[in-house]
Symmetry: D4
């Protein structure tokens, strides 16, 4: 943005740009208004990430429209999260070549890129039921250019299962720890790992799990220093943050 302003002002000074145009330009926003959505066409540049579409609450035709606008603007790869199987079919029917992953309810356009970040991200889960959220994280990270290792069902009630993945834990550049119920996995991994650990509480559980709030509170209060937390079931957000770390 810095450069844009300066270049514009130089243009005004030399007369190459009129005051009216310059004022307009200073107001121009790098997005396209589709009526129902303002599609950000510069984010890749500005934040170093592929575009992501949050599929929930958007119709298939809206999703298809946004994908097209992005592709027209030169972004070949698009990730669509929280996409139901039905909606995915409709998006495909609208002519978008979508690769659909049912468990994490994710659609991918343009395929996964080659990893361009050093090291790997470890995505771990406490139980089998946490896998859908973990896969959302893993696929997102892969779409953002990360290499990913998976360590599923290694919850601390069977501590030997956790410790069996010690090597993966010690070698990771970042870890996404996914757990529902009491979320203790985050604390144990947080105490073992040298790298940043991002905890994802899941809504797995019942009764006093309060839809994931118990795991969320548990992770926020982790006795392991430096564990950070994202919203319940937010595998995408954890991976997005992790990808920033791996690309540092």
């Amino acid at each position: 943005m810095e450069h844009d302003i300066r270049m514009l002002l130089e243009g005004v000074r030399t007369g190459a740009v009129s005051v009216d145009d310059a004022e307009a330009a200073l107001r121009v926003k790098p997005f396209e208004d589709l009526g129902y959505a303002n599609v950000d066409l510069h984010r890749q540049m500005r934040q170093g990430a592929s575009e992501v579409i949050y599929g929930e609450g958007k119709t298939a035709s809206q999703i298809a429209g946004i994908v097209r606008a992005l592709q027209d603007a030169g972004q070949p790869r698009v990730l669509v999260t929280r996409l139901s199987a039905e909606k995915a079919d409709a998006v495909k029917d609208a002519g978008i070549p979508l690769e659909y992953h049912e468990l994490p309810r994710i659609g991918i356009v343009g395929g996964k890129p080659e990893p361009d970040a050093e090291g790997y991200l470890l995505v771990a889960t406490a139980g089998t039921s946490d896998v859908p959220v973990a896969e959302e994280a893993a696929l997102t990270a892969e779409m953002l250019g990360c290499s990913v290792r998976r360590a599923f069902d290694i919850g601390v009630a069977g501590l030997h299962r956790t410790l069996a993945r010690m090597d993966d834990i010690m070698g990771a550049r970042a870890i996404v720890a996914v757990a529902g119920m009491e979320g203790a996995l985050a604390s144990v991994i947080g105490g073992l790992a040298a790298c940043p650990v991002i905890a994802v509480p899941t809504s797995v559980g019942y009764g006093a799990s309060l839809g994931g709030v118990a795991a969320l509170l548990s992770m926020l209060n982790s006795c392991a220093s430096g564990v950070t937390v994202v919203n319940i079931d937010n595998g995408f957000g954890a991976a997005y943050a992790a990808a920033k770390i791996l690309h540092q």
Copy 2:
């Protein structure tokens, strides 16, 4: 109670007891009404435990009065919980030979009994700040005739500290796991131990620990099967339950 009723009815049948007396007796309660409190004089018999006075919300003279009533009824040992140092002094001034433990705010009358239960109770804490609650549990259990081992500051963020006490964990007949913050200690011990594990959430923590609610929820949702939970900071209750188990 079974026997009492039968004996009474036999008395009525034989004429040894009048109907009026029997009716009265059937209504007689095995407690003494001090006005401000109904002191239970038969609990030792009925539940196999020493009498306990919950000190909070009682004046020193009320406490002294109850102790005396109990001693008059033949109960030499009394445990007073949640007793402030000031109130303890006042109880002593009232002539009660009280031994005061400041950290767990407990007063003991009549000294600790010899352990009469098999095996030992392990009282473990995640951190140093959980020790007062743990000591409330440990002293209570000792007053109820248990042998107690302490394992303090063995929280899972330093897993090697937890595992260092593996022998004590594996050998216990019951474990009271005391932890604030995210309370993960209960899950890890619950996964390791073969004996019953009673978890005590503590109010140690800040912010989203919500005064111990985070640890409480965590423990209730423990992924380790068979962990049971008591109220926040309720070291006494955990020990009481554990003592029942050790005396089985």
Copy 3:
């Protein structure tokens, strides 16, 4: 584990075991990784319990796979909890000889074992609606080798119904008290019984019962000393803890 390590080291000392093998062995975990789950093959040894599969969030074929892995490892009896009728049919169709209990949504493979613990566990409920949770507890306990007595619909609003089961309450080695709404049954039984009482709040109720939170809080605050609590509707957890007590 103690013995394993020692035997291994002796092997190294005598040359019977190479350093590489010993290191590997020290890392070997006693579980089988099915991809979607790490099946614990040693738990029976380590914790004295049959294997349990939490059916929620697992597909029928995953459940069947785990059952087979367990049976291959020599565990004839498996308990599957939170199993819907549809999934139970699918598990049977996959060739697993499952005995299905609809009310508590439990599947049993290999039949109930003979009780091998002294005394009996009393499972009590406040109302008729609490029975499914109570049956989950009762069947679990039976699968874990306990003898069980049932006392259903004895809530304290009709105190004579509670007192009518006085004998069963007084004679039990442990009691699981199941109640929704205000959960007062736990306090009344807790005050009467000499044995450990484990309270199970249920989600029975409406409005301010908040899905069982009212009963949960009530039980955590029980005025009866030594009542411990498990998660809402967690009949399994209560029975698991009770079975540990009965097997002491």
Copy 4:
């Protein structure tokens, strides 16, 4: 109010009252504006009760002012609730002949009236710590013309203590059941009594009692039909409702 309107309109019709005066009168309110408070001078008439001053958040001189306004309007008896000892002294210093009750923090002006309602109100508590709230209820009811019996420390953890007061429970015209912790007393009494039962949760307890919310929820979910509930620690409100019932 019915009569007032009619009399006024008759006056207008006969010319005894001008339209302007009538309009004004129709707007006149039966209270005195002291600046800081609108003192209701007609409530005794309208609702059949003595005036009550909620002492919290009012200065001693404001309280004294309201008492005087009420006495000037012919109301000899005034009840001041939630009145600290310091403020009570200041009110006395301001020349108001106040009789102060420290435990329930109540001030009484003009003494208690003779009971004018049939039967008696039973005020029961679960524990000793609930007595201050219970005394607020008892004194309020007495000030409102009720005869009151007290049954303190009869909580259900010692059921024989509860049952010992069976006669008082069965004979009451209304019962105020005061309990903190899990508030089970309300359900047990609610199941035994034929008369209306008003439950008062107290803030007695700690941890997951959440300042009385646990008892409140418990009482709202009582399995005993027809128990109604007031705010936490609101002994006054329960007595006010009970007095209405006794005066029916």
Copy 5:
């Protein structure tokens, strides 16, 4: 119960009753155990009310079974609450002559009794959506022998609608005030009425109404003295309490 015990003891004294029989009788409970439910056959006597069956969580055949047990015990009138239309049909198919009220989801067996209490109960609602809960209250009260007046949709946002029913408010012997959203109706009526007011919060509303919790809290904090409250949507409970008041 008083009399029963005395008569029994007299029988023992005179030899008319053996000790064994007396002991058994003292244990006999006035209910019938249907396996799934303990049907209370003496409640009518003990509490002056018809028997009520809470339909939720019971099967149609269980409900039919309980109705028959009650009728066999001489109770002609039975009220079944929280009964879905489908289940009502099934109960009828099972041969029970049930009169079904769809809005309040209530089934009545044996018809409404003649009112046997003095005065009338006013059942008021704030809005149209509160009517189902109000009708549950009104029908329950009628089944319990009360005369009922209805005043629906008189919420305080249109204060003239509230005041239009001033006569009904002033003349009632008890009022059940039913309101969702902010529940202010209870406070306004509570300030106007001389009789006891029982507030029923409803789950009507959205967002921050939190399923009726907003109305519940509002009513518990009513600035009008002596308003008592029941659980959210608990029209039955309010009517039960009101019926006790009207029958005093």
Copy 6:
């Protein structure tokens, strides 16, 4: 109302109105009781607004009945909110010429009026998923005579999108800011705008958004002075308040 009373009293004075009639008139309420609803026929006069029907919890025939009563009373324009598509069809079938808007679930009878207020209302949303609530607000405001501008999907995570609508923000007479998730849009707009800003939290989000409570709390705690808030998803309420402001 002022005038009504005065005119009535003048009538009484001159004898044109009898006392009985005057008393009755003073009690007459300006609404029609349809049995299930008290339709307010004077609100337009009293509050300067068209009549609104809250469609939720009313049957199609009730809605049709209220519309007819309003039209008979001379109110041509009616807004029906929270109206499902099915119910809308049924209302049309009942002969009411309803114009239905599916996204905001609104029905309009009598068409939109010409704007009669100065300036315009800006309705802004953070995301695409907030549009239904925003449209409820926009249509409501238009029905109440406001000119409306829409600025959708301008959330602060893409700040340039927000700033692109700076002119619309600076020029508005009132702003309704609609946002779910963390609701930060309200604070940013609140800091920029000179006019009143009304924030509408939406239930858009998941996990710790707690059904819109996160956005609600966020908006209530806005660091921007003078932002006021309505209930979650309450586009109608925000527009109603805004229309009052624009008509000042």
Copy 7:
């Protein structure tokens, strides 16, 4: 800001402003950084309001420093909210001529301005305890150029007190309704008034008032259309919003 940019660009075009200077200017912010605070020197211009200092969490010398910075920038009138008496004294000692209002804990520098808005703001309270918050609102509004009428202690439990201020309610251009407990005042006034009503919940109450949350929820769910709400005890925010409305 619009004009600033245009003027600047014109300067660049004519050469009167260098590109460097223009770029710098476009970055210049209209505030002064005091190290501990960024004092906004242009807000008066931008939002038409005097500067306000939130006193909580600032030292007396910080407050004095900000006041001086503002006065140096030509803003004679400053309002300091949430200012304790001690801190007010210290600010005065630092040489700032502060006029302190103890009840609402407000400090005023430069005196109140003449009202410059049409009509008046009505500030109403339910009770006497709500007055401090109401005074914060009233003083704030007066500092922002509004004429204010006060109507205190007119809560709906004494509806005649509310109706006695009917004229003030009907004539206001905006109303700030301040109430704790159940906050019903907002709904009743909201139903009566034609002008915008801003509700301020207060923390007045106890127990289930949850520190004002009950009143907050009540007001958010008001059945009166168009009531908007601010944070608990936020008299300042309500007045700020009201002042915007009065200055439209």
Copy 8:
């Protein structure tokens, strides 16, 4: 740990280490048990960080003891968080050369190290009251070898203040965004920055801020992708996580 095991086993193989010693060594933990605390002497090695002492809930002599144990083990630099001024004095009196920072309540032993990580960490706050938490973060990061820039009081209600620090935001390698109230700063910065953003909610605010829960929920629901969150007021935790990122 990997190496330790291997080296040990080699020792056993060669006979240099006896089986008994090896078994003991495999159990040796790299910490020192001071009775009240298990001081971790290897963490610096294992996780690359200086040792940190959480001062809350430890006595001055305990803190001094831990510092000494660490220094004896060769760790010259120690950070003590949540340390009151009084306790700091006592630690100094115990002979520990502590440098105390009052605002963030932090004690430093051994001085700050030279920054050893690339780039800088930006610590930003919304308001002046958030500075103590921000300083805790800043000092912690500096103690962990990070270079830190501070940007305080740049909350989004004055968006120009936020944008004025655009350069610092764009250039950072990680950002810690500290905000109370509605916490919107995290979303705005999260949308602008390319680096990882860690949000710290603070307990700054009142009423519905619920002690920081509002800001916490807001941040967890941030519409800006990839913002991660720590516990309320947990400046230390945020800095610890950030330091891990900067040292990648």
